[in-house]
Amino acid sequence: MPTRKESLALIAAALALPQCSGGSGRGPASAVRVGSKNFTEDITIAEIYAAALENAKIPVERHMNLGSTQIAMAALQRGDIDLYPEYTGTALIDVLHMPPMRTRPQIYGTVKQAFEKRFNLTLLTPSPMNDSQGLCVSQAVAQKYNLRTLSQCAKLAPQLRLATIAEFLTRADALPGLQQFYGGFHFSSARTYEIGLQYEALLRGDADVATAFTTDSQIGTDNLLVLQDDRHFWPEYNVAPVARMSSLKTHPQIAAVLNRVSPLLTDSVVRQLNYQVNVQHTDPADAAQQFLKEHAV
């Protein structure tokens, strides 16, 4: 007959079983656990972080596809993961519940300081890429109206037709906010499309301006122009590794490795990665490897 202790251990083993068979069980104790949220851009960037660490001979354990910012943050705060790619704008607004700020250093500094003080988390070097909302036009329209910036667009709007995703029309940080902040922006028409299809409307000539997320791969493949947010209405959504300060202490090399990678992630690079993963269905891990090889990291 097993002793009490043994039987307890047996139960614990049985309980742990489903996790092990999931292939996401704990690796070696020293592994860096890299997480990601549940959309392909975040997953791909997390794979780049993971592969870069592995190339630097740091063992990695992957916890990809965490369902939301709240889940990823909860896992990070508990120490179930050591780091994951987060967007500065998201951290500011959705995690810290602070009012939107306009400039990149302002946002980054605020978030980093608050995270360190409140959560014992920190942000490493941010990437230049900015996955924000935006408006884009075809090169032809840009030329025809000499359109480059949102200020110009605000004035020209009555001559322009908008192709939009539904929520853009109602969200305070979308069209209503733009109208208030820039003035104008009263488009001659606004038709709503499923996400992604607004680009097709633009290409077919059914619209002159389309809503966009600024790292959508279509912007690159369709040679579209994202209008410059010249008065900084939208906060910046620069991606940066958010990490446990204690993990950075245990693995001092993490910061050095990731700070070499982050500057490489520009809008066009990330659009290209999104294209590979979303359109060509390249596995994010393969796309990450490929990227690191190209940039000799």
Partner: protein
């Protein structure tokens, strides 16, 4: 298709999530359902509470679960058990309350103890309705357990959500077809049990 070999394992994980979620859900819902059947004035608050829990968006509930239980198997099981309450408590209460009063009175009068009345009279007579509740809950949980893909608990959700993200139809189907098949099989399984139980208890 390169995902095919994983599907078996993911399906098993999925079943483990649903099984554990349902098991824990029953441990909570059976006493609550029986309690509200016996004291109907507590029905409204208990059902109300279960409804409030049910109305919490799944990702928000999952985030809270991760906060306390970490990533992996258990937060998903907790969320499944929590959502199941809404269907289970109400239906268990209705099933128990639906047992003809005359048979309960007769059981009491013949000298069956409270536990014997419950086990030998109420449960068998409520069985078809109880199995119906179990069927609805299982099918719902099979769908909800796809959340497992969001906290590293595995299951078929990993395939579905990743595929959806990339508009990658094959990957999405590789996850959703087994999930649908599981749901259909579970439904058929419980329907068969229900029919058998109904044949036995058919109204006197």
């Amino acid at each position: 298709m390169k995902h095919l070999p994983q599907i078996g394992g993911l399906t098993l994980q999925h079943l483990a999530l649903v099984g554990a979620g349902l098991g824990i859900a029953l441990v909570i819902a059976v006493p609550l359902g029986v309690f509200t059947a016996r004291t109907p004035r507590y029905g409204a608050p208990v059902f109300g509470l279960a409804g409030v829990v049910y109305a919490i968006p799944s990702l928000a509930l999952l985030a809270v679960a991760v906060k306390y239980l970490g990533l992996g198997f258990w937060p998903v099981v907790l969320v499944l058990a929590a959502y199941a309450q809404f269907i289970l408590i109400r239906n268990i209460a209705a099933a128990i309350a639906g047992v003809p009063a005359a048979q309960i009175d007769a059981a009491k009068g013949l000298g069956l103890s409270a536990w014997q009345r419950f086990a030998r009279v109420e449960i068998p007579l409520a069985a078809p309705a109880l199995l119906g509740a179990l069927r609805l809950t299982t099918v719902a949980l099979i769908a909800i357990a796809t959340l497992g893909g969001y906290v590293g608990a595995g299951g078929l959700g990993s395939e579905i959500f990743f595929g959806l993200q990339r508009q990658y139809v094959e990957e999405t189907l590789a996850g959703s077809i087994p999930a649908a098949v599981l749901a259909i099989l579970a439904d058929a399984f419980f329907r068969t049990l229900e029919r058998t139980a109904l044949k036995r208890t058919g109204e006197a």
